[in-house]
Subunit: 376 residues, 2 copies
Amino acid sequence: MTTETRLAPGARIGIVGGGQLGRMLALAAARLGLSCHVYTDRQDDPAIEIAAAATVARYDDQEALARFAQAVDVITYEFENIPAQSAEFLDAIKPVRPSPAVLALTQDRLVEKNFVASLGIEVAPFAQVDDAGALARAVAQIGRPSILKTRRFGYDGKGQALIREGSDLAVAFRSLGGPPCILEGFVPFLSEVSVVAARGLDGDFVAWDVGLNTHEHHILATTTVPAGIDADLRARARDKAKRIAEALDYVGVLAVEMFLVSTPTGKRLLVNEIAPRVHNSGHWTLDGSVTSQFEQHVRAICGFPLGVARAHGPVEMINLIGDDILRWREFLGVPGACLHLYGKSEARPGRKMGHVTIMKNAEFGGAERDEDDLTR
Amino acid sequence: MTTETRLAPGARIGIVGGGQLGRMLALAAARLGLSCHVYTDRQDDPAIEIAAAATVARYDDQEALARFAQAVDVITYEFENIPAQSAEFLDAIKPVRPSPAVLALTQDRLVEKNFVASLGIEVAPFAQVDDAGALARAVAQIGRPSILKTRRFGYDGKGQALIREGSDLAVAFRSLGGPPCILEGFVPFLSEVSVVAARGLDGDFVAWDVGLNTHEHHILATTTVPAGIDADLRARARDKAKRIAEALDYVGVLAVEMFLVSTPTGKRLLVNEIAPRVHNSGHWTLDGSVTSQFEQHVRAICGFPLGVARAHGPVEMINLIGDDILRWREFLGVPGACLHLYGKSEARPGRKMGHVTIMKNAEFGGAERDEDDLTR
């Protein structure tokens, strides 16, 4: 639905997906006097406890989807691997923001790359791979190392195979379960950065400062702001996110992941991926910015004015993966550390259990301060 | 219960009272992976929607209180007018923090004043008033103007009668419903300030900077930080709060309201009231401080380390009372304004519907910043 529905406090937001992103969206909505209804296929998802209502059903259960849509005023999603046809079905009843068209585009790495490239925004070399012959031709064209990826449903490094010198192409292809795939040139990047930004219903665009991301085992480990790169590169990064958001007629928060590469003619940014949702690399905004990405997303999809995206000071966000959560008390004792735990009962390896934002500025803000230690 | 129970994420906090303070406590608890069970006598209280569980029953229903206590790991309260014997009853089952003794003391203005005075902390002149003769003697001793107050269950100016020149003492006494009362000297104060602070289970004490409070119709209207008073006065204010908290063996967040008065020998602070809970004059900490008063209270009552209380910069908190909430969209559009709405359906006159924190620092924090306007 493209109606320009602007909501008011008291409205109910439908969130498809019940993970920690949905949980933090529901907490942000509550601050603004809004309530949430979570739709998930998992009984014990962490967003359920926070939401005023929940539906637990398959993501393609049209009867449950219809009841859910009827019960809310606007619908959003906290992960992008829900069936595109379910998003379209919901959108026929209540506005889905970001739109089902955005969801469909970002669900397919090939379609997404073609879209970004069509805007004149640089991406890593890529080629469509639908069969073994296409893979051989793509590797010959792009070279090694390169990465074969499934076009759909990949996340946190899943659905990827590295093609090195000597790699058996048939084995790599089979390891992903066959087509449809995409081959992407391996980018020898200096660093990975991301822009988290929001576009309002009225077209207003606000971006947070660029974050520097590190990964471990293909999972985001840390985000640092400022990213330690030049102001002109940061401005260029945010401009790319803005052009993407405008071309998509985007409503809500999005994240654009980029590689920073060094070339003979200077440093350049290659767009790697668009996440049509609040993003792990924006978690620092909960403590480190005037407006959090979660509140900003709520503002955008409700047709509210966007908030300011200024940072309070330099921050580092550290993900707590699996057993990292056992260190919760240690982090609570670190001055300037803000702990967030997602309420998940089982700390499986690789599972995102929480995160910590370290406020790195010894002297926050400009307030006149006492010198005694009562406020620490 | 005085056992030194230290909890862990996954624990459940019982909150007695279901208003906006309980709602914001539940939101803070959720961030730390804790859940809440709210106990209130009102079906439509704003904290219920956020809490994982709720009991709606009278505050003296021992059967309901017992079931509630069994279902949680620690118990706190968000308003002080619950029956002291209910707090004691709960405390026999699960630890109540702050303790029932603190609650009983702060429920009686006379007991509270005697306690504060016994610490050598200055208060306005006061006298016990149990009958008409005592009132006449008290007025003769303290003078006019003075304020006759009920010793119990007063809030937001309710249960008070101003004794001016010519006021009929009998009428004033009757207007409060008779004894037990207290007469307090009217303090010609320069300003009203408050210290919001926390004491941990281990005795650690952390205070936020002093807030300058203004009231309208006896209801808090604004809190401004910094308060615009000298550093030594601010330090003295926080020291008073610390001595009070230590003398009470306090656990949790408390607020100490004070009058700043001018005397021939300099400015002095008179303690007016102790609130044994999170407090409206600490709402600015949600957006303006590294640790909010709500998270701090949760940390304290769970036996976690306290967080740092530094401010990000100068802030002003504005209460939205009654129809003020109609201005919600206007506030959302103010750069640096953080809006909080409590999800109350009916905007009755004098009812606290929400608040706004204005981050007054044009340049927040020390982060290197872009000059373009993408982050505003």
